[in-house]
Symmetry: C2
Subunit: 236 residues, 2 copies
DNA sequence: ACGACAGTTCGGTGCTCATCGAAGGGTTCC
DNA sequence: GGAACCCTTCGATGAGCACCGAACTGTCGT
């Protein structure tokens, strides 16, 4: 039996624009740091801290301390589902009732999508797996590239690894996928890889959303460069 | 594209205990009057008015003016779905991810359930339909009983129609079902009928919730008294 | 060891909003 | 027509809370 107070308490977590912005940002499945979320929502770090406390206490987010950073992400896939249901209601237009269209769109998202600026979904995980044998090391939490792996990647994406990198973005980082429940390659390497995939039209965006589709050229490229075959049609 | 402000605005509608209580009350599919909701949530009528304005403006509720009454109900089935999803999250325990259990429970609810104090779901609609040929008239919005229908009902539920009724509850009223999207019999007549069904064990409650199941005796009673057959196993 | 950095705690400020009572407008019943 | 009733509008009140800056703790790089 759910009381009105319980329901109101849950809704109150999302009833603030800043907290809503945090949750929408986390909807991409990545882990964000408290500072990134503060900057993204335009509030002071102290304010972001308070919001994250409430969201974690409310069970919507989980946190992972790492050194002086505090990473947060959505607690589980059901939270992401709930957020997307709510977000759907705020959009005008027809086809609001859990339509076939929404289901297939969701299935497309599961197959492959961009996650912030790198590849996610089954496609992202498959690419990450394939790279594991080519110089990508799973290092506790996150990833690292061997020199050979870096050279291989640099050759693929056409980019000089010796050249100094602006900013301090980590080269390779892990990103937990909320549909696959698996880590996949993010960071600068993941972004460059995704850029290359899009530039070469190995994947193309479906509509204006985050979902992507593997092209015929993409199939060939994956086979040639990584020796894998990713099914493009829904399994089962 | 959903903005954080949109999401927060939607969540804010449910972030108040009184408004949450209103929505949970409406989850039974009935239309409630503003006064009933004020009494149910324990606030002044003026306060309830303000809340209903916000909920209607936000698209969660629809209203229907009838004389000096203002009836409100959930805008559509997707709102009910959303509320139940949120309510599920507030309950602790496992099996939170849209499990088979939740789906079958939902299917049982669609087949038959009590709606406040009368029968709803396919069962409720079927009974209402069958009574249409036996003295139940659809009167614009709502229902009315002919003298013959009243006598027939009084005989079935063992109740003297001549005896003065306490309170002012309408004898027969319509109640829109959010799974069937059809009107069914509510009001005092619907309550008495439901009481008789439960007392005679024509229907029994499934677990502790609102879902009910038609018994073998119930099948026979429906055939004898109303000449209808309601399937108890899931169709299709 | 030192500075730079990420995050936290704390006190103060201001705004939003839920609430009520009183007064007013419609509707129904007698 | 008048009384009872349902609902609404309008101020006033008070509590909750989102926000910031400043001071503080802990971590990383040099």
């Amino acid at each position: 039996m759910t009381t009105a107070a319980d329901l109101a308490g849950l809704a109150a977590l999302l009833a603030d624009e800043t907290r809503a912005g945090i949750c929408l940002a986390l909807l991409d499945g990545r882990s964000w740091t408290a500072g990134e979320l503060a900057a993204h929502t335009g509030v002071a770090p102290s304010t972001a801290t308070a919001h994250l406390h409430r969201l974690v206490a409310g069970g919507l987010l989980v946190e992972r301390r790492q050194g002086r950073h505090r990473y947060v992400q959505l607690a589980d896939a059901s939270v992401a589902q709930l957020l997307e249901d709510l977000a759907t209601r705020t959009e005008p237009g027809p086809a609001r009732t859990g339509s076939l269209r929404a289901v297939t769109a969701s299935a497309a998202l599961r197959r492959g999508r961009t996650c912030y600026d790198h590849l996610a979904g089954r496609l992202g995980v498959a690419v990450t797996d394939a790279m594991s044998g080519r110089g990508l090391l799973e290092r506790g939490s996150g990833f690292a590239l061997t020199p050979a792996g870096l050279a291989w990647l640099a050759d693929l994406v056409g980019w000089d690894p010796a050249q100094p990198r602006p900013g301090r973005r980590p080269l390779a980082r892990g990103c937990l996928d909320w549909t696959e429940r698996r880590e996949h390659l993010g960071g600068l390497a993941g972004a460059k890889l995704c850029e290359t995939f899009l530039d070469n039209r190995w994947v193309v965006r479906i509509g204006s959303g985050r979902a992507v589709r593997l092209t015929t050229a993409g199939h060939a490229a994956l086979r040639d460069h990584l020796g894998i075959t990713v099914t493009c049609s829904p399994p089962r």
